[in-house]
Amino acid sequence: MSFVLNEDEQMLRDSARAFLNESAPVTALRTLRDEKSPTGFSSELWSSFAEMGWSGVLVSEDHGGVDMGYAAAGLVLEEMGRTLASSPFLSTSVLAATAFNLAGTDAQKSKWLPKIAAGETVIAIALDERARHNPDHIETRAKKDGNGFVLSGKKRFVNEGAGADLLIVVARMDDDQLGFFMVDPKADGVSREDRRTVDSHVPADFSFDDVKLDGDAFLSGADDSDAAYRRLLDAGRACQAAESLGVAEQAFDDTIAYISEREQFGVPISSFQGLQHRAAHLLGELELARSLVRRALTTLDTQPSQAPLWCVAAKAKATQVSRLAAAEGIQMHGGVGMTDEYDIGLYYKRAQAAGEFLGDDAFNAGEVARMSGY
């Protein structure tokens, strides 16, 4: 485990930054928004993720991936956060790939992981059922029915839900264990309601009304499917934190650039000590978030048993810092920070939405206390 990027990682980060600045700058999000994109992301961009080799970042080489691990996935997400790139990368290449890696049978892996690596599918993970993330509160049921299952329940704000080809639904089984189930969003009994959110993404609510599933819809390769579910959440938290970190970093950079330019009372406003101290403090907060995110990601790769605490801590910190950086950014921009013309408001919106997914700072601080035994 290392805090310092190795050569491969540096190359990845540099190419991600260059590519996203070119192909998915903030104006791309504005276009998706203004054209009311039905999915909230661009299929074209998603295809190019595969060309860049990123879609298979967690897919083994046997299955056509590059198998670079979570630290690498986090680097891509951090750069996505910087340009507010909207893409099913987190849901498909991180969460779905993790689900298959942890719980898929060999046959399931062979079928789906190559598709993920090739960017040929968009997969959404249906987790939460309440307004706030609550991993214990799963009431969706997959009842055994002959060789298959019958699925019933509701899922809320499923990311990329509007554009998904496949859902992986977390459901409680007859023995009360949690399991992953593949569901065709167009199957009988599945209904979808799209949710256009403040950050111009389009998650969806799903209802499952006695949906019939084949036996091999169940990802049955995990010894302990509850544990696989927890691992999935941890990985998701660290990776979502990486995106939030990127949001925070760019919000901060934009703000420093703005206050360095903007003059008031005849001097750049960045020369006022009041703003300087707040900017310096923010930089400190960013450094803390950066260290935790990196630590969580590398621990997932190298000592997964030690990862949970780092993942919840990173998620809490990245949520708090990204919201703070964007809020301070608006304030330091002054009036223009409130206009749609400037990007800082878009960062504020994304920080809020990204922060909510898999638990905000309050939720994850509670997890830190619980895991630490107090």
């Binding site: 704000f157 949710r195 256009r196 006022f272 009036g335």
Partner: protein
């Protein structure tokens, strides 16, 4: 007339004259009556209610009767407010003319100006907007560049204003204009009233992060302002603007601190409470408890300051402190509302008309600490004028 008699008569009159549909809380922006030349009433009742109240001068109860007001004492006006509240009566008319230009004219205007401009404000016939800020001159009004050149009986005005609220829907604008280029910075600005119905004035709405466009850019291109429509002396604009800004600060604060969603209701809305009503997330609950304490404290402080003002202690630069504390509090409240709603708070557009309302209010709240003097400017004012600390 004794206050008790006044209360009784007021109650009776309101009961007889306030249309039933005007006795319901404001549901949305559309229910607010702003008036003006191009105003379209949302309903016949809205029109009737405005006319009846304006006839008694009760759209501006404390203004003198000769200027279209009600001539009420402070105590009487308070009784009117209480009795209107008792039946949930809506405000018959909201306007920047009432809140801002009116007080300025009452203090600095000539008798003729008052006679000309105040009654149309009281009756909702002319809608006003405010032209202070300019691109590059937000908190720093002194550096403003819009120029007025004296030319016989009028000024020829050129320049650009920004953050003019509802300028695209307004009839006249009261604007700060540099008319004395040779005077020291603070003394070169005049307070001009400008009719916007002329070729030299144009507006362009600014789209905000909340998705709304309540503000405009306003352009003056050889616009004409009559010299007789200058309020106060040439060069007195800065003084008048400061007077008005303190009015604006008080307004923003009272809007900020009261009313609106709170995080406990938000948690109930989103179902994030236990069976006994306790907020499910204990750490969020702690954050909300600290907000409640500061909310109670701010409420008590507003009442204390009001009482002290009634005892002649004056608010003065403390208005800046209240504005700062109140707007920071309101931002915190909105943030915690969003957290208590969780995913539900993220909703932006959907089938219900109210979808996105909480997020819009949350985004809107970020402006509280920018408009009417930023938090930073207000902290400067408090440091210098309340604590008497030296200039940097």
């Amino acid at each position: 007339m004794s206050l008790d008699n006044f209360r009784k008569e007021t109650k009776d009159w309101l009961e007889a004259n306030c249309p039933q549909s005007m006795r319901k809380p404001i549901q949305s922006e559309a229910d607010i009556c702003w008036g003006g030349r191009n105003w379209t009433f949302a309903s016949e009742d809205q029109k009737i209610w405005l006319e009846r109240m304006a006839e008694r001068g009760w759209t501006v109860p404390t203004w003198p009767k000769e200027y279209g007001g009600g001539g009420l004492s402070k105590d009487e006006a308070f009784v009117l407010k209480e009795e209107m509240k008792a039946i949930n009566a809506r405000s018959p008319l909201d306007s920047f003319g009432i809140w801002m230009l009116g007080p300025a004219l009452l203090k600095y205007g000539t008798h003729e100006q008052k006679l000309e401009f105040l009654p149309p404000i009281a009756r909702g016939e002319i809608r006003w907007c405010q032209g202070y800020s300019e691109p590059g001159a937000g908190s720093d009004l002194v550096s403003l560049r819009t120029k007025g050149v004296l030319d016989g009986d009028h000024y020829t005005v050129n320049g650009q204003k920004v953050w003019t609220s509802y300028a695209d829907k307004s009839d006249w604008i009261f604007a700060l204009v540099r008319t004395e280029p040779d005077a020291p910075k603070y003394n070169g600005i005049s307070f001009l009233l400008i009719d916007m119905d002329q070729p030299g004035v144009s507006t362009k709405p600014i789209k905000l992060i909340s998705g709304k466009s309540p503000f405009c850019e306003t352009f003056f291109d050889d616009a004409k302002a009559k010299v007789k429509d200058r309020v106060g002396d040439a060069g007195q604009g800065w003084e008048i603007a400061k007077y008005l800004l303190s009015h604006e600060r008080a307004g923003i604060v009272s809007e900020a601190a009261f009313g609106g969603l709170n995080p406990v209701s938000a948690a109930h809305q989103s179902g994030e409470v236990d069976a006994d009503g306790k907020m499910s997330d204990p750490i969020l609950r702690g954050d909300v408890a600290r907000l409640t304490i500061d909310g109670l404290a701010f409420d008590a402080t507003m009442r204390r300051v009001k009482e002290e003002a009634d005892h002649g202690e004056g608010v003065g630069a403390r208005a800046s402190l209240l504005k700062y504390m109140g707007t920071e509090l309101n931002k915190r409240r909105n943030e915690l509302n969003m957290s208590a709603l969780g995913y539900d708070g993220l909703l932006w557009e959907g089938e219900k008309e109210s979808d996105g309302e909480v997020a819009r209010s949350w985004l809107r709240s970020r402006a509280n600490s920018i408009e009417g003097g930023t938090s930073e400017i207000n902290l400067n004012i408090v440091a210098k004028r309340v604590l008497n600390l030296p200039g940097a």
